[in-house]
C-alpha cells in the first residue's frame, strides 16, 4: 500500500526505512503476527486439520459474509459511525430471496438484482436519517435492527423457506469451472494463481517506476524482492491448497474482487480520501468543500448493498431462508473492524486491518469448533481478543504521546 513511498528529505538508509515502515505499521503487523500465531496454534492443536484443503475452503465460505460486510462497515466506522442493523438486513434480504424464488417462482438472477437493489434502498433509508436528519447512527440502526428482523419474520411467517434452485446455491457452494479435467487436481486454479502473481508483481513494479520517475527514494530492492516472493508464495500456496480440493470457490473469487476494490477505494481514490477526512474532522472536511451529508448517505447505501450480498451468500449456503439468519452477525463484523485497528471515533482504519480482524475471528471460531470448545467459551474468548486488540491500540497511542 501507500506506506511504501517514503520521504526523501529525512528517511535515508535502508535499515532506517525498514524500521520506520515497521514502526508506522506496528498495528497491522502486530495483528498479522497474532493471526499467524493463532493459526499455528490451532494447526498444532487440531493435529493438522486446520490447513487441510477442505477446511481452508470451509473457512473461506464460513467467513465470506463477515468479510463482505466488514468492508462496508469499515467505511462506516471510518466515517465515525456504526451500523447495528446488518445482521437483520442479511435476514430480510435472504427472506426476500426465498419468498421470490420459492413462493413466486421468480428467476434467480432477477431475484439477485432485486435483492441488491432492496439492500441499497435499506441503506438509503438509514443513511437518510443519519446524514440528513442527523439522528445518531447508533439509534437509527438499532431501530433498523428491530424493523428488519421483524419484517423477516413477517415475510417468512416464522418458517424456513427453501430449497433453492441449483444455480442460486452455486453462488455460495460452487467452484470455478475447470477446463483441463486433470484428475484430482484443479489446473485452472493454478493457472489463475500464476496469472495473478504476475499481475501483482507487474503492478508493484510499475508503482515503483512511477515513484522513481517523480524522484522519490524507494524501498531497497532486496526488500522489494522479498516482499514479492512472500506475496507470490502466499497466493500460490493458497491456490495449490485449493487446487488439490475442488478448486477456487466462487465466493473466494467474489471476495478477492471486493477486497481489491475496497482496498483501492480507501487508499487511492478521492472518495476514500474524503471519507477519511470526514471521519477525522467533519467540520474541517465540510469547510474544505466536501459534501459530508451526501458522502455519509452513500456510505450507508454501500453498506446496505454489501449486507444484501452477504444475505444472498448466507441464504445460498444454507439453501434456505430462515427467520434468525444473520442473528448477532453485526457484532462479528464490527469486532473485525475494531480488531483490525479502526478507531471508534472515526478517521482511522484500513481494509487490510479489517480483513485480518475478520480472519482472526474466523480462525478462532473454526479452530475452537474443531477442538470441540462450546459456543459459550467461544464467545468469552472472542470478547477477550477484541478487548486485548483495542488495549494494544490504546497502549501504543499512549506510549507515543
Amino acid at each position: 500500500m501507500s506506506a511504501m513511498t517514503t520521504d526523501t528529505t529525512t528517511d535515508s538508509g535502508a535499515m532506517k526505512t525498514l524500521t520506520t515502515l515497521f514502526r508506522n505499521n506496528i498495528r497491522e503487523y502486530g495483528m498479522l503476527i497474532a493471526l499467524i500465531a493463532v493459526m499455528v496454534f490451532f494447526q498444532w492443536q487440531t493435529g493438522g486439520i486446520l490447513f487441510r484443503p477442505v477446511n481452508i475452503t470451509n473457512l473461506v465460505l464460513q467467513n465470506s459474509y463477515v468479510i463482505t460486510m466488514a468492508l462496508g462497515m469499515l467505511l462506516i466506522i471510518v466515517s465515525g459511525w456504526i451500523d447495528l442493523s446488518v445482521g437483520s438486513v442479511v435476514a430480510v434480504v435472504g427472506a426476500l430471496a426465498g419468498v421470490l424464488i420459492v413462493r413466486y417462482d421468480v428467476n434467480w438472477v432477477l431475484t439477485l438484482v432485486i435483492c441488491l437493489l432492496v439492500g441499497a434502498a435499506i441503506g438509503a433509508f438509514q443513511g437518510f436519517w443519519v446524514a440528513y436528519v442527523k439522528i445518531p447512527a447508533f439509534i437509527v440502526t438499532l431501530a433498523g435492527m428491530l424493523i428488519f428482523r421483524g419484517l423477516t419474520i413477517a415475510l417468512l411467517a416464522g418458517e424456513s423457506v427453501g430449497p433453492f434452485p441449483v444455480g442460486f446455491q452455486k453462488i455460495s457452494s460452487g467452484f470455478i469451472p475447470d477446463f483441463f479435467n486433470f484428475p484430482g487436481f484443479h489446473l485452472t486454479t493454478i493457472l489463475i494463481g500464476i496469472v495473478l502473481s504476475i499481475v501483482l508483481i507487474f503492478l508493484d513494479l510499475r508503482a515503483r517506476r512511477n515513484q522513481q520517475k517523480y524522484g522519490f527514494e524507494v524501498t531497497p530492492f532486496y526488500f522489494f524482492v522479498a516482499k514479492n516472493i512472500l506475496i507470490t508464495g502466499a497466493v500460490m500456496g493458497l491456490c495449490y491448497l485449493m487446487a488439490s480440493y475442488k478448486g477456487l470457490p466462487n465466493v473466494l473469487v467474489l471476495l478477492f474482487v471486493l477486497i481489491t476494490g475496497f482496498a483501492f477505494i480507501t487508499s487511492q481514490s478521492v472518495v476514500g480520501r474524503r471519507i477519511y477526512a470526514m471521519g477525522g474532522n467533519e467540520k474541517a472536511a465540510k469547510l474544505s468543500g466536501v459534501n459530508t451529508s451526501r458522502l455519509l448517505f452513500y456510505t450507508f447505501v454501500n453498506m446496505g448493498v454489501l449486507a444484501a450480498l452477504a444475505g444472498i451468500i448466507v441464504a445460498a449456503r444454507l439453501n434456505s431462508s430462515t427467520p434468525n439468519a444473520g442473528d448477532g452477525m453485526e457484532l462479528d463484523v464490527i469486532a473485525a473492524c475494531f480488531i483490525g485497528g479502526a478507531s471508534a471515533s472515526g478517521g482511522i482504519g484500513t481494509v487490510i486491518g479489517a480483513l485480518v480482524g475478520a480472519f482472526l475471528i474466523g480462525v478462532l471460531n473454526n479452530g475452537m469448533s474443531i477442538l470441540g470448545v462450546g459456543i459459550d467459551w467461544q464467545k468469552v474468548v472472542k470478547g477477550l481478543v477484541l478487548l486485548a486488540a483495542v488495549f494494544f491500540d490504546v497502549y501504543n497511542k499512549n506510549k507515543s504521546a
Binding site: 501507500s2 478521492v270 474524503r274 477525522g280 474532522n281 474541517a284 472536511a285
Partner: protein
C-alpha cells in the same frame, strides 16, 4: 496596606513561543470595583486564569497574596475555597438542569451522598432574592435568557461565600437593561464589602462603576488609574490601551490595487439558534485586486459569522444578500460553489475547523482541491507528494516529513498548512480569519509576508483580526464591525489605533469618511 485584598506581584506566564504575561503587577483594594481593560490578547484572561488557579502554581512566575497570605493555587476549587470566584464569558451552567441543581453543582447540599432537596431549594430561593432574580428554583437554565443566566452564575458565586468576584466580560451578550441591572448589583455587593474585578470592553460601564482601572497592553501592566480622584475620559483609557509606539513588525509592501473583484451587498444573516438575533446586518463590503482589506472589531462583533455566512452559508440561517465577482452576480450558496467561484476561507479555529489533525500534512493540503491531483477519481500519490512539498518549501513549513501528522506541528506551522490548503485551491479571494492567533512573533511575520506576496500576485484578501496594530500594519483599507454592522470604513493611511478604537468602542455613531 491592610485594605488590599489581593496582590499579584511580578507575574510572568509563557506559552511555547509566546510571553503572555510579562512581569505584571496588579492589586485590588478591599471593597472596590476594579476594572481591568486592554485589547484582545493583552493578557487579561490569562492573568485571571493565573489568579483562579486554572494555570496552577508552578506554571507561572511571581507571587499571589490574598488577604495578606501567599496563595499557591493548584486548581480552581482551591481558589474558590478562599472566596475567589470567577465568572467566565462563556457561562458554565448546565442547560438541562434546574437553577437549584446548577447552584450547588459540585457543592451539593447532601449528607452521606443523599441530597437534601428542601434545604437546597430554600437556600437557592434566598440567593436568588439577593441577586434580585424572581424565578422558581426549579426553572431549567435552558428556558431562561442570557441575562438571567448571568444572575444565576452570580448567585452561584454567592453560594460559595465569595469575597472577590471576577467577571470576565459579563455584559458582552446582555442588552442595556440587563447590563444596567448587573452593574447595580455590583455596586450593591460593594456596599456589603465584596470586591470585584470587572473585565470589560465597554468603557462606558467601566467609567460608571469602577473605582480603579488597570490597563494591560501586550502582557504588561501599563498603568492603574484612580477613578475616584479624577474624572477619566474614555479617550484617556483608549490611549493607554493602544499605546503610542508601533514597531516595525510588518514587512513593507507596495500596493498595486486594481478593479473590484469581489463584493457583497445587503448581506443579512441570523443566528442559527436564536432565530431573532441578526449576526450580519445589511453588510456591504468589497475587495479589490491586489488589496488587503481588514475587518476590525471585538470578539462577538460578527466578523467570523459574516465571513462564514459568505463562504457557502457555512454559518447562520435565513441568509440574504447578493455576491458579485468581477461585477457579475455569483451563486455561493454552498461551500463547493464558493470554492469553485474562487473564494477561500481560512478559519480562526484551525484545530476544530481547519485541519484533520490525525491526518498527514499532505492530505490536509490537498483536501480542498483533490481534483487537481487525481485522474478520474484516482489519486496520483507521487504528484500529491510533489505539489505538497512545493508548498512546504514555499511557505517554509517546518516538519520532519510531509507525511507527519498535522497534530504534531506547532501552531504557526499548522496555520501554514491551512494556508497551503487554500492556496492550493487557487482562489482569487482569500478570507483569512485571525490567521496569526496564538502563534509567535516570528511566524506572524512569515504569515504577513505570505499575505503580501498573495496581494502582489493580484489576489484580494479579506483580513479579520482582533489585533489592531496588525490590521493597521498590513491592510490597505479597514472596515470596522460592531454588533453585526459595518460601522466604519477608512483607508489605512488615514487610520490610527485611536480612530479605529473609537469606532469599535464608542456607542454613538461616528461620522463616516
Amino acid at each position: 496596606m491592610s485594605d488590599v485584598i489581593l496582590e499579584m506581584r511580578n507575574i510572568t506566564k509563557t506559552f511555547p513561543g509566546v510571553k503572555a504575561l510579562d512581569n505584571v503587577t496588579f492589586s485590588v483594594k478591599q471593597g472596590e470595583i476594579h476594572a481591568l481593560v486592554g485589547e484582545n490578547g493583552a493578557g487579561k484572561s490569562t492573568l485571571m486564569k493565573v489568579l483562579s488557579g486554572v494555570y496552577p502554581y508552578g506554571s507561572y512566575e511571581g507571587e499571589i497574596y490574598f488577604e495578606g497570605k501567599e496563595c499557591r493555587f493548584q486548581d480552581i476549587h482551591h481558589s474558590e475555597e478562599l472566596g475567589l470566584v470567577i465568572i467566565h464569558q462563556e457561562l458554565a451552567l448546565i442547560p438541562f438542569l434546574s437553577i437549584t441543581e446548577n447552584m450547588f453543582l459540585g457543592n451539593e447540599q447532601a449528607t452521606n451522598g443523599v441530597i437534601d432537596w428542601n434545604e437546597a431549594i430554600s437556600k437557592t430561593k434566598e440567593l436568588l432574592d439577593r441577586v434580585g432574580l424572581h424565578e422558581s428554583p426549579n426553572t431549567l437554565i435552558t428556558n431562561m435568557g442570557v441575562g438571567k443566566q448571568q444572575l444565576v452564575e452570580i448567585a452561584k458565586a454567592l453560594a460559595k461565600k465569595v469575597k472577590l468576584l471576577i467577571l470576565d466580560e459579563p455584559t458582552a451578550s446582555l442588552n442595556d437593561n440587563d447590563s444596567e441591572k448587573l452593574l447595580e448589583l455590583l455596586l450593591q455587593f460593594k456596599s456589603h464589602g465584596i470586591s470585584s474585578i470587572l473585565i470589560s470592553h465597554k468603557l462606558g460601564e467601566v467609567k460608571k462603576v469602577a473605582d480603579s482601572i488597570t490597563i494591560l497592553r501586550d502582557g504588561a501592566t501599563i498603568e492603574t488609574l484612580d477613578a475616584r480622584k479624577e474624572n477619566i475620559s474614555e479617550n484617556r483609557i483608549i490611549r493607554g490601551m493602544v499605546g503610542r509606539d508601533i514597531t516595525h513588525r510588518f514587512p513593507p509592501r507596495e500596493s498595486k490595487i486594481g478593479e473590484v473583484i469581489f463584493e457583497v451587498r445587503d448581506w443579512n444573516a441570523y443566528h442559527p439558534l436564536h432565530a431573532d438575533r441578526k449576526v450580519s446586518n445589511n453588510v456591504n463590503i468589497n475587495v479589490r485586486k491586489g488589496e488587503v482589506v481588514g475587518i476590525a472589531g471585538l470578539m462577538g462583533a460578527g466578523r467570523t459569522e459574516l465571513a462564514m455566512s459568505i463562504f457557502g452559508r457555512s454559518y447562520g440561517i435565513r441568509i440574504s444578500g447578493t455576491a458579485y465577482r468581477y461585477g457579475k452576480e455569483v451563486d455561493i450558496s454552498t461551500i463547493d460553489k464558493a470554492i469553485s467561484n474562487g473564494i477561500a476561507y481560512a478559519t480562526e479555529d484551525r484545530k476544530a475547523y481547519g485541519l484533520v489533525l490525525i491526518q498527514e500534512i499532505k492530505s490536509n493540503i490537498t483536501l480542498a482541491n483533490l481534483e487537481e491531483i487525481s485522474d478520474g477519481g484516482v489519486i496520483n500519490e507521487p504528484k500529491e507528494l510533489t505539489v505538497t512539498r512545493e508548498y512546504r518549501d514555499k511557505l517554509n513549513i517546518k516538519c520532519s516529513s510531509i507525511r507527519q501528522l498535522a497534530l504534531n506541528l506547532s501552531g504557526g506551522n499548522q496555520q501554514k498548512v491551512v494556508l497551503s490548503k487554500w492556496l492550493f485551491a487557487n482562489p482569487d479571494i482569500l478570507i483569512l480569519d485571525e490567521p496569526t492567533r496564538g502563534i509567535d512573533v516570528g511566524a506572524k511575520y512569515e504569515i504577513y509576508t505570505i499575505i503580501n506576496r498573495l496581494a502582489s500576485e493580484g489576489k484580494g484578501i479579506i483580513f479579520i483580526s482582533s489585533e489592531l496594530p496588525e490590521i493597521l500594519g498590513i491592510c490597505d483599507r479597514i472596515y470596522v464591525m460592531r454588533d453585526g454592522k459595518i460601522v466604519g470604513e477608512m483607508p489605512a493611511s488615514e487610520a490610527s489605533q485611536e480612530i479605529v478604537m473609537n469606532h469599535i468602542m464608542l456607542e454613538e455613531e461616528v461620522v463616516e469618511p
